[in-house]
């Protein structure tokens, strides 16, 4: 199970970075999303993966069942998913505004802020 998880996280990271290195803004945002998912699953996998042992103390017993699942990573992931959702929503709106302003989604055309001095508009 852990190995399967490791491979899955690796594939997600690889795909995410590949998408980020493409020239299109859309693909870049998809790549960022995939990186976020990879990080979430990494947290999930880094804590011990167990099945069928909820972290609930049974009546009459003094402590948790040994090998009980850890609820903290899931709380962390939930927080991270919510944040990731908000950030992705913002990125999509930003992308739309950039497209409206430049009529292009090719990252290689967004050079005006990297040039030495503010260039005059081409038209």
């Amino acid at each position: 199970m852990s190995y399967l998880f490791a491979v899955l996280v690796g594939v997600l990271y690889g795909t995410g970075f590949y998408m980020m290195l493409r020239r299109s803004v859309v693909k870049e945002i998809i790549g960022l999303g995939l990186l976020g998912h990879a990080a979430n699953l990494l947290i999930f996998g880094a804590s011990t993966l167990t099945r069928g042992v909820p972290p609930i103390i049974a009546e009459g017993s003094a402590g948790l069942h040994p090998g009980a699942a850890d609820p903290v990573p899931q709380a962390l992931i939930l927080t991270a998913i919510v944040i990731g959702f908000g950030v992705t929503a913002f990125a999509i709106v930003l992308m739309r505004r950039v497209y409206e302003a430049t009529n292009s989604d090719d990252l290689d055309t967004f050079l005006t802020t990297d040039a030495g001095e503010p260039r005059e508009e081409a038209h």
């Binding site: 980020m20 803004v25 870049e28 960022l32 990186l35 976020g36 990879a38 990080a39 979430n40 990494l42 947290i43 996998g45 880094a46 804590s47 903290v72 990573p73 962390l76 927080t79 991270a80 944040i83 908000g86 950030v87 913002f90 990125a91 930003l94 992308m95 505004r97 950039v98 302003a101 430049t102 990252l107 967004f110 005006t112 802020t113 990297d114 030495g116 001095e117 503010p118």
Partner: protein, 500 residues
């Protein structure tokens, strides 16, 4: 007393909410915004005074004992950072009254500024790594919107670069926090520091350390992760750029210093040497980048990168004196850099352009501005007796005492190049004959004071740090001493029962 820790987070939150409720009235928002900034400044001063007396204050949120709940900790380093943030924030809020367009104000400029401050103060005060991640996101989200607010083409283009690299950094940070939890079973910084000590023989803490270094390195704009900064910081309106320049990268530096003095101190021969190399390259690439620029704000942006190098140089040398130098440098830099960005706005407002070829003759036209720029620029370059000199002197001395000759030499050379690039602005914008750019409308009396007042305030602070360097140095030295003895921090957070 413990209330003082939570106030720097609650005050900006409350102010932002009230500003949101007053959406319809810009005038009311302005008043509330300024009141909030003033209240934050007073609280921050109170917090530093309280922390100076008792070393560190801890608040366990909801009274859940550490390490189970979220801990807020204010030691001297946190308190100093909060005070600096509040001071520059106050100056920027005043300045913004006369320089932000009404359209931006209507679309949430004031609430966003305060949400940003909430994130910044939260990041300085938290004692929990995942909580730090959340505060980073609060800060980033507000900064994304502030950067793009107004929707001019350069802003949007710069925004894409800024957003992408900062989200990448967040993803790395999140992964590192997850692996740390998997390794140590805790996210409380003090607890993690204790538990990683027993793991020092394995390589895992070092790998984790490097992951955090990458995550915070991107946020701090350290070499080789700084490209987003000069591509975006010159695009938003001046008050926003000034606040970003003064505070945001320093949050990255703060986080880096915090984790590399508290948690990852087991393999300093590797990690801190790496940091020292990064520091050297950051200083050099930043200053070389600045020399090739012609837009005042881009020159200043590259100088931010260069000076991040000085701040982490102290961390890399890792002696009490070196860390005192770093802290002194941060104190000096936040104030001077914010001020120089505000001055760049005044150059544009009185000279008609940010571009050095298009402005000239400002020395004759606005002598006050020439004086303000000259003092700030000389302070940045490190000319005695201004604040930058003492910061650099401390770092240099620490470098020589630790026999790190190379980085000491680099820091001296970079200082000289900084002076060169400041004198370039001086000679082009102030000395050179007036350019044929049409002069903008003159400032009326209120506008003049709203724009020049905050700059004068920050200049006075710089001068005070320069002339009264000893008390500031004592503060920096005591902060560094606290940072070098993490056991104090750990005991304060976990209680006396903890066995460091």
């Amino acid at each position: 007393m413990r209330l003082l820790i939570i106030l720097p987070i609650v005050i900006p939150l409350a102010t932002a909410v009230v500003c949101l409720l007053l959406r319809g009235s810009t005038a009311m928002q302005r008043t509330v915004s300024l009141t909030g900034a003033a209240a934050l400044l007073l609280t921050a001063a109170g917090l530093l005074a309280a922390v100076w007396e008792r070393d560190a204050i801890v608040l366990q949120a909801g009274s859940w004992p550490a390490p189970y709940g979220i801990t807020l900790v204010a030691d001297l380093f946190s308190a100093v950072m909060v005070l600096l943030a509040a001071l520059t924030f106050f100056a920027v809020t005043v300045y913004a009254r006369a320089s932000v367009t009404p359209g931006r104000e209507r679309f949430g400029f004031h609430p966003l500024l305060h949400f940003l401050m909430m994130g910044v103060c939260g990041a300085f005060l938290t004692g929990d790594l995942f909580n730090l991640y959340v505060w980073f996101e609060v800060m980033l989200m507000s900064s994304f919107v502030l950067l793009a607010l107004g929707g001019e083409r350069p802003q949007l283009e710069g925004g894409i670069k800024y957003v992408t690299l900062n989200l990448l950094s967040s993803a790395v940070f999140l992964a590192a926090a997850g692996i740390l939890y998997g390794t140590a079973g805790t996210l409380n910084m003090a607890d993690a520091a204790l538990r990683l000590r027993s793991l020092q023989d394995s390589g895992l803490p070092t790998v984790l350390g490097v992951m955090f270094l990458v995550a915070f390195g991107i946020k701090a704009a350290a070499f080789p992760f700084f490209f987003w900064l000069p591509a975006s910081y010159h695009t938003p309106p001046v008050p926003i750029a000034a606040l970003f320049a003064g505070l945001l990268t320093k949050v990255g530096v703060y986080a880096m210093i915090r984790v590399f003095t508290l948690i990852f101190t087991g393999a300093t021969a590797f990690t801190h040497t790496l940091i020292l190399w990064i520091a050297g390259f950051t200083m050099v690439t930043g200053v070389l980048g600045a020399m090739s620029q012609n837009d005042v704000r881009r020159i200043l942006s590259f100088h931010i990168v260069s000076q991040i190098g000085y701040m982490i140089m102290g961390l890399g040398i890792f002696t009490p004196l070196a860390l005192a130098g770093s802290v002194f440098y941060i104190i000096h830099h936040i104030i001077v850099k914010t001020n120089l960005f505000l001055i760049s706005g005044l150059i544009n407002r009185t000279g008609g352009s940010f571009c050095l070829q298009k402005v000239g003759g400002l020395y004759a036209r606005v002598p006050v501005l020439a004086f303000l720029f000259l003092v700030s620029a000389l302070s940045l370059a490190g000319i005695p007796p201004l604040s930058g000199f003492w910061a650099k002197l401390t770092l240099l001395r620490a470098g020589i005492e630790a026999q790190q000759w190379e980085v000491a030499a680099v820091s001296l050379a970079v200082s000289l190049l900084t002076l060169y690039s400041m004198s370039k602005i001086w000679s082009e914008a102030f000395w050179a004959p007036p350019a044929d750019t049409p002069a903008p409308a003159p400032l009326d009396r209120t506008e003049w004071w709203t724009l020049f007042g905050p700059v004068m305030l920050l200049l006075l602070v710089t001068a005070a740090i320069g002339f009264g360097a000893e008390p500031v140095f004592r503060l920096a030295a005591r902060t560094a001493e606290q940072l070098m003895t993490p056991d104090l921090y750990i005991r304060t957070v976990l209680g006396a029962a903890a066995q460091p």
